[in-house]
């Protein structure tokens, strides 16, 4: 358990350090994620060293954003005031993302891959 925490929080800490050092606006957690994937790929750490902790965190990810979601109560007036732009922009954009991703993938996908 300590080793699992060390790996996850170690990667996150390196991410925090890089953000502090360079001032880039990329979340430290994204840097930590890429670092963890790299360490696994380079065989510097084994998958079973983090598996328990990572499975727990990923399967409960939804729960962790309940409190920030509750902060919404502070912004109910913003949402009420700008409801139309928020809803229209969100729905239209989501349809566009679905179609753009799907079409591009179908276009560049080699036919032989469908059997994979």
């Amino acid at each position: 358990m300590i080793r699992q925490c060390l790996i996850i929080f170690g990667c996150l800490a390196v991410g925090e350090f890089i953000v502090w050092l360079t001032g880039i606006s990329i979340p430290s957690s994204i840097i930590g994620m890429l670092l963890l994937a790299s360490l696994l790929q380079l065989r510097l750490i084994k998958e079973e060293w983090v598996k328990g902790m990572s499975d727990f965190l990923i399967s409960n990810m939804g729960f962790f954003f309940v409190p920030p979601g509750v902060a919404l109560m502070l912004y109910l007036d913003v949402i009420k005031a700008e409801l139309t732009p928020i809803v229209v922009a969100t729905v239209v954009s989501t349809v566009l993302v679905l179609v753009a991703t799907g079409w591009t993938h179908q276009l560049f996908k080699r036919h032989g891959d469908t059997a994979e």
Partner: protein
């Protein structure tokens, strides 16, 4: 009601409501009864009724929210597991993710801007397609309202989970891999859980879209907003 302001009691309440909401969704099978959305709604009503401020609740909530960042780091494990697949089909996956990510940020920002949304709202909308922890961090890094992002992201996920496959059928995206990838790219974890129900292949590609678009949007969104003069 003073005792309700106790951190431990507020934490237990949050766990309890989420558990009940999840049971409710299991029983009814209604995807609209998303446990995250239901729990947020119930807590807001409860806090408003009892007169507990958000500041008080957030002292308890911080113990839960704290785990968001480590959870994103943990996504490095499935990313590593998918690396082989990504490498074999690098070009179609990478190009479609790039298209989805750019279209997602540019279109939502452009539409919101034309319709007269405020700067803070536009920034909060920009990362709407990616999974909430990533979206909130991106939003915070750019100076938006993270909790507004959280609410929008959950709504986008629900929209994608309910209508995503229908939209894809109508627009002639029939390939199962392309469908899964698109659902994950557009509607993150909520869409991915719907794709998992349809089958493992859909689910695997959806989670691939969820992770890759999360990374791409985190990297590209600040740049795109800068280029668009936000």
């Amino acid at each position: 009601m003073e005792i309700l302001q106790n951190n431990i009691i507020l934490l237990a309440l949050t766990f309890g409501i989420f558990y009940a909401a999840r049971q409710l969704q299991k029983r009814t099978g209604w995807i609209v009864l998303n446990p995250i959305l239901v729990t947020i709604a119930v807590l807001i009503v409860l806090l408003t009724v009892t007169g507990i401020s958000y500041e008080t609740y957030s002292q308890a909530g911080n113990y839960i929210e704290f785990w968001l960042k480590p959870a994103i780091v943990a996504l490095g494990v499935p990313l590593y597991q998918h690396l082989g697949q990504i490498r074999r089909q690098f070009l179609p996956i990478f190009l479609s993710q790039l298209a989805g990510s750019i279209v997602g940020v540019v279109s939502v920002v452009a539409i919101a801007q034309v319709m007269g949304a405020s700067r803070e709202t536009i920034i909060s909308l920009a990362p709407k397609s990616v999974t909430t922890p990533i979206a909130m961090e991106v939003c915070q890094a750019m100076g938006g309202i993270p909790s507004l992002t959280a609410a929008i992201v959950v709504s986008v996920g629900l929209f994608g989970a309910i209508f995503g496959f229908k939209v894809l059928e109508v627009w002639h995206v029939k390939n199962p891999y392309s469908q899964g990838l698109s659902i994950g790219t557009a509607s993150h974890a909520v869409g991915t859980s719907r794709a998992m129900e349809k089958g493992d292949t859909y689910g695997a590609y959806a989670s691939l879209g969820l992770i890759l678009n999360g990374i791409l949007t985190a990297l590209l969104a600040p740049l795109i907003l800068q280029l668009m003069g936000i």
